[in-house]
Chain length 329, copies 2
């Protein structure tokens, strides 16, 4: 099977690539070829049991999507996009990349389908940003998409396209709405949601971290490891079972900031947990207030998607996957 | 106030035009100018108390939207679009007209806003086709948009754009989802939904009509008069009260085909009602099975939108507005 990953240089793309290289197979089929595409050149892995090609490509440019599918990859992961803050900052860029780029890809596949019956599986990462407040206690699979950001709007539009193109038989699409990924590896970032990861990742490496909100703030989480698990499971899922509603909120864990810190304390001890410094920031508190707190993801779970069910598991996944088991070093 | 109607040659566009000409004002403001645009030349009314200009214009062509808003109309009705059957038949045309055409209009306004703070009210006619089965008993304002047609997909995408452009302050948008319009004037048409109107309109003019489904089939209706009423009300509505969710399912009447015929009997008598001939068509029955039957439109009603509450009123509206009060002639 030839797999194309668009957005391969991002955090999830790199983890997915590593996992595919390690497993050599997906959905029970051996991988014969892997194409890694991104707007910045993706790293080419040193060793792989099959050909791996890294491509610098911007889907929003004319002709790029056609070129990416020229070799007819059977499985396409579309992870590429401009993030929420940037899409809000730069209106035109957000629509160009997140909407037009996605539509370019879908259109290229549609035209290839009518040329030679090409019909790949397309797995698209959407976002819980397709939902906007006010929310019910837990957002279920029948709750409306009324986003409150341009990013959420672009993702919701892409979801609609994905369902329609799938219904028309142009490809077999599945959209998966990722929870907030926690613990996000790397350096602290300035995204409003950054603190959810910072307050665990930094102390686990022996550094201080700032908590800008109350401990009672509740949000919706899954680990990077769970996110990669969703993507692998999506590759082999029987889409007949999914039906025409092709976009699914992925399972996750609803937890408060207090529960995050408690899990940190249990896994890493009092001293590490003491590295979280309270420094309330009303601006961040206000932004976070409008975010979803909990989901009812029965549908995805019935289809076999799985995530962590307690925060200690999320902390432990980070210690194992990112720190080689060493805390506070 | 300068009003622009895009899609002015359609059934609703013509009725809206007639009503605006008759009233000379909308939302408490005198009309100073009216521009009628459509892909086929709209009829220019013979007499009006203000300048009326008819324009042939296809929004999906480059530069057309810019030209239409050049004189900065304060109120824009966007009623234009390819209908459901055609959008399903011709995939590219549907997206070009219903999605790209709408986006062209919104983009032209956004760029004008940044040039000279132009910020019109935009009233957009969406459709209950944004919803797809399976439905709850009554579809409320928090039910997801999971359309099962390309037309519904395009309308749902346009709704998302409208909310986002409104949230960003580029214009003041309101999307209204019309019920199935009944009794649709004119000649019988071949749309799958045509019979809902045919079985009333034809007998009221003394002609036979074919009923292809069971009398128990339930659907969601409003008269053309009610639809024009929605459009007028939307022009003056305080959008602060609407909030960020800018698309509303309009009030209507949930009724069975049997109730339609019973209303016809009560208004026009046994002989007229006897002109409905049963001729079951399993293909049409199957299509109609997937359609919404009932809505909970509390939100729109709280905002002052009104429709008929019994089918006799719908039949009487047709007799008054289309037949000059004469039945069976």
């Amino acid at each position: 099977m030839h797999i194309l990953i668009i957005g391969a240089a991002g955090m999830i793309g790199r983890k997915l690539t590593a996992r595919l290289l390690a497993e050599g197979a997906v959905a029970g089929q051996a991988i014969s070829r892997l194409t890694l595409a991104d707007v910045v050149a993706p790293e080419s892995p040193a060793e792989a049991g099959f050909p791996v090609q890294a491509v610098t490509a911007d889907l929003s440019e004319a002709g790029v999507a056609e070129r990416l599918i020229e070799a007819r990859p059977e499985l396409i992961y579309h992870l590429a996009g401009v993030v929420s803050g940037e899409a809000e900052e730069n209106f035109e860029k957000g629509y160009r990349v997140n909407l037009d780029g996605t539509r370019n890809l879908f259109e290229a596949i549609r035209l290839a389908e009518s040329d030679d019956r090409y019909r790949p599986r397309v797995v698209f990462t959407s976002s819980i940003a397709v939902f906007g407040a006010p929310f019910p206690e837990a957002i279920d699979d029948e709750f409306l998409q009324a986003p409150l950001t341009s990013y959420g709007t672009q993702k919701a539009m892409a979801e609609l396209l994905l369902s329609d193109y799938s219904r028309r038989g142009f490809f077999d699409g599945l959209g998966i709405r990722l929870p907030t990924i926690c613990i996000r590896p790397g350096r602290p970032n300035l995204a409003a949601s950054g603190f959810f990861s910072n307050i665990l990742r930094e102390p686990l490496s022996g550094k201080e971290a700032v908590l800008p909100v109350e401990e009672s703030v509740r949000h919706w989480f899954a680990s990077p490891r769970a996110a990669v698990g969703f993507l692998l499971h999506a590759a082999g899922l029987d889409l007949e079972r999914v039906g025409p509603r092709r976009n699914l909120s992925m399972p996750g864990l609803s937890a408060t900031v207090g529960e995050e810190i408690e899990a940190l304390r249990r896994v890493a001890g009092e001293k590490i947990a003491g590295l979280v410094r309270r420094e309330p920031d009303p601006k961040i508190a206000r932004i976070v207030e409008g975010w979803p707190r909990n989901f009812d993801t029965r549908r995805a779970r019935d289809l076999g998607f799985e995530a962590e069910t307690d925060f200690e598991a999320i902390v432990r996944a980070h210690v194992e996957d990112e720190l080689g088991g060493r805390i506070g070093a």
